[in-house]
Amino acid sequence: MTKLPDTEKLCQDLVRELKPRIGPKTAMVGLYTGGVWLAERLHKELRIEKPLGLMDIAFYRDDYAARGLKHDPKRTTIPFDVNGAELLLVDDVLYSGRTVRAAMNELFDYGRPASISLVVLADRGGRQLPICAQHVGAKVEVPEGMRLRLKRDDAGKLALALESDRAA
């Protein structure tokens, strides 16, 4: 059984790591669903001035032809000017890199950011695209047939969890 890292501690590590690079041009975008939870936490603790952006990449996925539109796409809201912003793109788990590719495409439909850095809680390897994260909470090995997801309880506590790939 893989032992998962303490997610709350990873969040604190990320806050410490990101703190020095927060400036007036910094803006943050979280990817639904887990990435939004993490981004809400980081955005608040880092006291980023620009309001938090929320993104659902459903309309930019590369598997639409094979799998159709996902059932409950959330509305993407980017409440700041992307042009010239130093963006922190936040997701819970980095795996194939396809979500990040889709997110970058969507971001560029809002404008031309000065830079994009990727922040993830966990990197589980298995990349299918030339994408890497600049800020990683932890590298996590995930057994075959399983996947790694972020959960949030009623008190707002975050925890990484393994579940069967066939679920959901």
């Binding site: 539109l69 796409p73 509305r75 495409n105």
Partner: protein
């Protein structure tokens, strides 16, 4: 049991032919998806890549400006290629059958057919004959259905009223000839609106309309009382056969929406109209352009709703 012709073997929406018979979950899925697309239509780049490489054929056997245009905009915002066919001046007038027309367009690699036809059921006929990867969206068939209009009406109501469970909706005018009314009634009852009223003269009220779950009023003032939503229907002059009405003026007197009559509805009532409006026949200009009117937002929402429908069917 015969399968719903709109759904595939997994129960997913493959064609949109009618709101009637669609489960609540699919209606909600379309409205939720449209909500996300409404965000796209507010951005500077109003395009997403979902239907890149797909071809949408607008097949309009009946005239239409608003519906055809908003389907075209919706398809373009999904990055599809759009081909508009004005059938009134093309092959159909040379005697080509409906299915031959569709077969020829299919040979040109169509992915979605958006069909408007004067005959009820024409989109169903086409849906039965298209290839598995082709999808049909009904843009109005005869007196039968106009599902995307019904959906954009539902979207508009949900946008302003949030919740269907306490609503009183009054649909006023030429219910007999209205495919818009039929689609909206099915949608409202499926989504749980507790009181749907239809208001109109005896001659413009279909027999047995109560069976759809509506209350019938012939007195507009009684019907509008405490309504949250007032939907005015267009007086369909071109569908009028024989003497159903004494005159347009007479109709306006009894069933035209004026500020005085609207005052009987709730203070925060919204007024809708599918367009095109006949000002001074079914609606007074002071109401059409007044603070309760959401007639123009309806048109804007129609784009997001049609984006949702096309992207859902093309993915199933």
């Amino acid at each position: 049991m015969q399968r719903n012709p709109q759904l595939n073997e997994n129960g997913e929406l493959q064609h949109l032919l009618s709101i009637e018979g669609l489960p609540r979950e699919i209606l909600v899925q379309i409205l939720d998806t449209a909500e996300s697309f409404a965000g796209v239509t507010e951005r500077e780049v109003k395009k997403v890549p979902l239907l890149r490489g797909k071809s949408v054929f607008n097949l309009f056997f009946e005239p239409s400006t608003r519906t055809r245009t908003t389907f075209e905009i919706a398809a373009k915002r999904l990055s599809a290629d759009v081909i508009n066919l004005n059938i009134a001046v093309s092959s159909a007038t040379k005697g080509e059958s409906l299915l031959d027309t569709v077969a020829n367009l299919s040979a040109m690699h169509a992915d979605i057919f958006v069909v408007r036809h004067a005959s009820s059921g024409a989109p169903f006929l086409i849906a039965r004959h298209v290839k598995p990867h082709e999808h049909v969206v009904n843009a109005g068939d005869g007196r039968h259905a106009h599902p995307t209009q019904g959906l954009l009406d539902l979207f508009t109501i949900r946008h302003y009223k949030k919740d269907f469970s306490k609503l009183t909706v009054a649909i006023v005018g030429d219910v007999l000839h209205s495919r818009v009314a039929r689609s909206l009634i099915h949608g409202l009852t499926t989504l749980g609106a507790p009181e749907v009223r239809v208001i109109g003269p005896y001659t413009l009220m279909p027999a047995g309309v109560e069976a759809l779950g509506v209350r019938v009023f012939h007195d507009m003032k009684a019907g509008l009382k405490d309504a949250d939503v007032v939907v005015m229907l267009r007086l369909q002059n071109e569908r009028m056969r024989g003497a159903l009405l004494p005159s347009a003026q007479e109709f306006f007197k009894h069933y035209g929406l004026t500020s005085d009559k609207l005052a009987l509805a709730r203070k925060d009532a919204i007024v809708m109209h599918p367009g095109p409006m006949n000002r001074g026949v079914e609606i007074d200009s002071s109401v059409a352009d007044g603070p309760h009117s959401v007639i123009l937002p309806q048109v804007t929402f129609g784009i997001a709703v049609r984006m949702a429908v096309m992207s859902i069917v093309a993915g199933n």
